[in-house]
Subunit: 192 residues, 2 copies
Amino acid sequence: MEKDINFSPLRLAILGLVAMQPQSGYDLRKTFASTPMGNFSSSPGAIYPALKSLEKKGLIRGEADNETSLRPRLVYSTTVDGEAALKLELEKTVTHKDLIWHYDLLMLRFAFMEKLGQFEAVRFLSELSTELADYIHQLEELMEQTRAQLTVCSRLAFEQGIEGYRGNLRWARRALRGLSQQKQNGGFDHDN
Amino acid sequence: MEKDINFSPLRLAILGLVAMQPQSGYDLRKTFASTPMGNFSSSPGAIYPALKSLEKKGLIRGEADNETSLRPRLVYSTTVDGEAALKLELEKTVTHKDLIWHYDLLMLRFAFMEKLGQFEAVRFLSELSTELADYIHQLEELMEQTRAQLTVCSRLAFEQGIEGYRGNLRWARRALRGLSQQKQNGGFDHDN
DNA sequence: CGATACATGTAACCGGTTACATGATTTT
DNA sequence: AAAATCATGTAACCGGTTACATGTATCG
């Protein structure tokens, strides 16, 4: 009886990171402040409330690593429900709207896809490629139609947008080829 | 005595569009719903309050196009202050933080840069290129350092991010070349 | 012992989302 | 006259930002 949860990027990032490795809010802050995940907020005003709300939903649980301390370090780990919710989120199909509104969330989902296995990762990349190709085509047509009305700068800005999606598509196809080769070994090679 | 205003992407988009062509809230909604500006919200709950707040700040002014109507169409246009604030915003230098946190805002600024002239547009693209090259370098180094600790999927997701910035840089350099050629004609060619 | 990093938390604020409400105008 | 579209608006909600508050552990 799992209900579908709409995760904000930050919450999904937190859930995924905690699922990979139990850790404290402060650990998360360090990650967000010093890695390519830096597009997420590392401010306490964002992270601690997010942790509380995930805990309230029963998806993660925080345990003090030192009972005696007055202000113990709270290490969070995923619950069974949390694992299930994460899996459910990662298995969602890639939609047109994901592309336009939440590309960051898409990449986040992919980044955590390791434990679902290569079949899921390949499915995701296939769907992403299809949607991307479709959207690029739409944008190109729109460009043709509106080209005459655009200023030089706005046309260039538009082209930058399309160029970006083309890059994303090339990446997705390359990644797909990479994974397909690995696939012949039967799964991700975790001994590397 | 202009004070520096921090525009949300939506507000900057509205101010810029209204500066290019006076229009109503409904016109803006149509634009956001049907063009590549579609990454902005076209919901009334976002646009009408944003218009009111820009008007309250004295940057735009709405005038009824039909006095007799009980519910007239409100056509907004920029005030002198609004023009100045927009110019000020577009002239800001491109920072590292813009890149990481507000890339959409950067492209928006560029899209409206027509009226400032090519020198400004060229300056913007130069700064952007510098910052991009710098950031890409940083990311590549970070990738080298952390490669071993990443899962296959998260490494790929990371690479997608870098690849995206590389695409942006290629675009910026190409646009720069394009503008530099035009520049020899002394300005944007608006008779095209 | 003072400084710095570790670690968690809260409150006011702001802006976008969602959903609802209202009425005018145009089309069929 | 009904339906669709035009057009503006509001209220509850949610989540991130900013700034502040508090206390612990470690290091020189």
